[in-house]
């Protein structure tokens, strides 16, 4: 987590798990369409959202992530 102490703004660090066949491609499509979004979310490619073990989500929080996105 990082907090900009001057502006009191919160920049959450978000870890995304996206399915290779839909959401990962969707994130690519956002790029191809030159859409804009905040750079806080960083994506890990998985072969299926069913591959996301709850332990991965807990690990992310344990290591300091502010949010986890599972999409598939």
């Amino acid at each position: 987590m990082s907090i900009d102490t001057e502006n009191k703004e919160f920049y959450p660090n978000i870890v995304g798990f996206t399915c290779n066949w839909c959401s990962y491609t969707g994130a690519d499509l956002a790029g191809v369409s030159r859409m804009k979004y905040k750079p806080n979310v960083k994506v890990i490619r998985v072969p299926c959202s069913g591959r996301v073990n709850p332990a991965f989500v807990l690990r992310a929080f344990q290591k300091g992530a502010d949010g986890v996105l599972v999409s598939g």
Partner: protein, 661 residues
């Protein structure tokens, strides 16, 4: 041995380099543990770029590689091949997506984009530190194809595959092949006789040594995967033994039961033992069990008594036939929308003289119920004034389908031309929304019809009602801004094409997606129009979307080329990123079997030695041909025995750690 990672960061011209400070990314990541070499280059996917990777792998004795560039969807195969050329296992590799998921979406904040690129590269470095060599295996391919549906699309696919030297099963649920095209009279814009160009193709398919035609049969089960499908076909009972029937036709002549013919779209009649039409393939009859007096009441049986070869067999039963094929082509075609259930303004089908375009084809067809004389269904009189209404069910978001059915503008122009040509003093009025005629010599044909005297009225019809023996058509001419009343003798509706009944079931069996209207979805609308997202399953014709005959035939040949390419291989490589069960850890609970969507897990008995004694126990076993690498089993496994190669627990956890740092 210490890992030796090679890191190659791409500028992609200004696509990445214009937003992300690439040299800084190199600077910030080159000291990551294990990185033995790091550099950047303008276009990493270009030939000099790939050669750079190869030479640096050799020069620095690298054992694994990270490329940070575009999406792996685009160039992962390219770079894997490159590092394989450098002598590494192609799976000792990972990519960081710093274009689609970084520079292109964060171009408004270059500093943040650079920071994110650094994080994404570190994620890839973390993963690549954990990768292991993977090896593709190969599975044999069954060199035979199944074509579902034997209209013009299916026939063309079957002929083209068969000509390339592979066996084909051409499956059709009706008693004859030919589909909708054989019902048509003439084909636009050349006015070729439809039967004259399609029935020779039917005969060609029947006589081809590589084609097995199965009519009156349906697909009931599909198991397996690309190259190795196991299919089950239900051969419906024909009650006529086709191996001895000579097709003499005595039975159909003498059968006392007459019913409406579905081939004639209810415009003509057939017997309970029948051949759909004189040029049918196979040209042998079947008995319709719903109408046969003997099969219903046990009385009659006149066909059996008369048959000179004793081919009629009332005891025949449906039969299940199993086959193995390497590829499946779906060519199930279209039906017309059931307009009678939707359009009250056209009479909900109450008026006999409001018919569809396909029924008009039968009326005007020389081999149709009226021998080609245009006679209206109600009283058999020749209609003088014929009104055509286009877009019935198409382009109608409110009541039916949003899409344009593509063929109607042209066949309506053809019908109008036929009315003017065949009926003395005949008038054709066409209500239209737009006239769409994209196609070779199409617009010329439409113009010619207008010049012949067909009256095109731009507007919709609000009501049709019967007045004496006339149908009064009330519509609007939106170009003149006035109401139009036409006293018509016959009204022909250009109804929307919809996927044929039962295509949803075929989609389920073959594991192919359908869109909101029920049409099959192709793998890519532009670049992979005949493939589906399911390997080994292809599409041809109107089952993928409304089409006219030229487009259908071209697509069919395209699908056949894809099948021929697949079947020309003896075996195919399998993706090595599949599940692996550590038998030592597996307790044999088989929860993984329950969650596997591909039925790839089964139980297996292994023998272990415990305290010197052989002990048998059950463990899970993965079929490497069926496993698609989704990894659901790895999450379900409580012992942690299931792991997914290429996406192992260790790899994913180290990626999480890298992104949270």
């Amino acid at each position: 041995m210490a890992k030796r990672i090679g890191l190659f960061i791409c500028w992609c011209g200004s696509n990445i380099g214009g937003v992300v400070d690439v040299p800084r990314v190199v600077e910030e990541t080159k000291n990551y543990p294990g990185v033995a070499f790091a550099t950047d280059y303008k276009y990493m996917c270009s030939e000099p770029g790939q050669n750079l990777i190869i030479s640096k792998v050799k020069e620095h004795n690298l054992d694994r590689v990270v490329v940070a560039s575009c999406t792996p969807m685009l160039h992962e195969p390219t770079f894997r091949k490159a590092i394989a050329r450098a002598g590494l296992n192609p799976y000792m590799f990972d990519m960081a997506n710093i274009r689609e998921q970084c520079s292109w979406v964060h171009s408004n904040d270059k500093e943040a984009a650079t920071q994110k690129a650094i994080a994404l590269v570190k994620r890839a470095l973390a993963k690549v530190s954990q990768v292991e060599p993977l090896f593709e295996s190969s599975i044999p391919i069954t060199k035979k194809a199944l074509v579902v549906g034997a209209g013009i699309a299916g026939i063309q696919v079957a002929l083209d595959i068969a000509d390339s030297g592979h066996e084909v099963i051409l499956l059709e649920r009706e008693s004859t092949i030919g589909g909708n095209m054989v019902k048509l009279d003439k084909t636009f814009p050349t006015m070729d006789c439809s039967a004259c160009i399609s029935t020779p193709k039917m005969v060609q398919a029947a006589q081809h040594p590589n084609i097995t035609i199965m009519t009156y049969a349906e697909l009931v089960d599909v198991q397996g995967y690309i190259g190795n499908f196991e299919i089950t076909i239900k051969q419906k009972a024909r009650y006529v033994d086709h191996t001895i029937c000579t097709g003499c036709g005595l039975c159909t002549e003498k059968c006392p039961t007459k019913v409406l013919s579905s081939f004639e779209l209810g415009m003509g009649k057939r017997k309970a033992i029948y051949i759909e039409f004189p040029q049918a393939v196979p040209n042998k009859p079947v008995i319709d069990p719903d109408n046969c007096r003997y099969l219903k009441n046990g009385k009659c049986g006149i066909c059996k008594k008369l048959c000179p070869v004793g081919a009629v067999d009332f005891e025949q039963k449906d039969e299940l036939i199993e086959e193995k094929v390497g590829a499946i082509v779906i060519a199930t075609g279209y039906d017309l929308i059931k307009w009678e259930e939707i359009y009250g303004e056209y009479g909900y089908g109450r008026f006999k003289d409001v018919i569809t375009g396909l029924q008009f084809e039968r009326l005007v067809n020389a081999s149709g119920p009226t021998n080609g004389l245009i006679q209206r269904p109600s009283d058999g009189k020749e209609p003088k004034t014929v009104v055509f209404i286009k877009c019935v069910g198409s382009r109608d978001e409110a009541k039916a389908k949003e899409y344009c059915s593509r063929a109607c503008c042209m066949y309506t122009a053809k019908h109008a031309h036929q009315v003017i040509e065949k009926i003395e003093g005949g008038h054709a009025y066409i209500f239209y929304m737009d006239v769409r005629t994209p196609g070779k010599a199409y617009d010329e044909f439409y113009r010619r019809t207008v010049d012949e005297g067909a009256q095109y009225i731009r507007g919709r019809v609000s009501k049709i009602y019967q007045s004496g023996d006339k149908l009064v058509v009330m519509g609007a001419d939106t170009l003149l801004g006035s109401a139009v009343h036409i006293e018509a003798d016959l009204v022909v509706l250009a109804t929307a094409m919809v996927p044929t009944e039962g295509s949803e079931k075929i989609a389920q069996l073959a594991g192919v997606n359908i869109d909101k209207d029920g049409f099959f979805i192709e793998a890519h609308p532009k670049l992979r129009p005949v493939e589906t997202m399911t390997g080994g399953v292809f599409l041809a014709g109107a089952c993928q979307g409304p089409k006219d005959i030229p487009d259908t035939v071209s697509q069919a040949s395209g699908a056949a080329a894809k099948v021929a390419a697949l079947l020309s291989n003896e075996e195919m490589a399998t993706d090595p990123m599949i599940c692996h069960i550590d038998e030592k850890m597996c307790s044999g609970c088989l929860v993984c079997k329950e969650v596997c969507p591909y039925k790839a897990i089964s139980e297996k008995t292994i023998t272990e030695r415990i305290a010197g004694q052989p002990v048998e126990r059950m463990v899970a076993s993965v079929n490497t041909g069926l496993c698609q690498g989704c990894g659901n089993c790895t999450v379900a496994c409580r012992a942690g025995a299931a792991n997914l190669k290429g996406y192992t627990n260790l790899q994913l956890l180290s990626e999480v750690d890298a992104l949270c740092r």
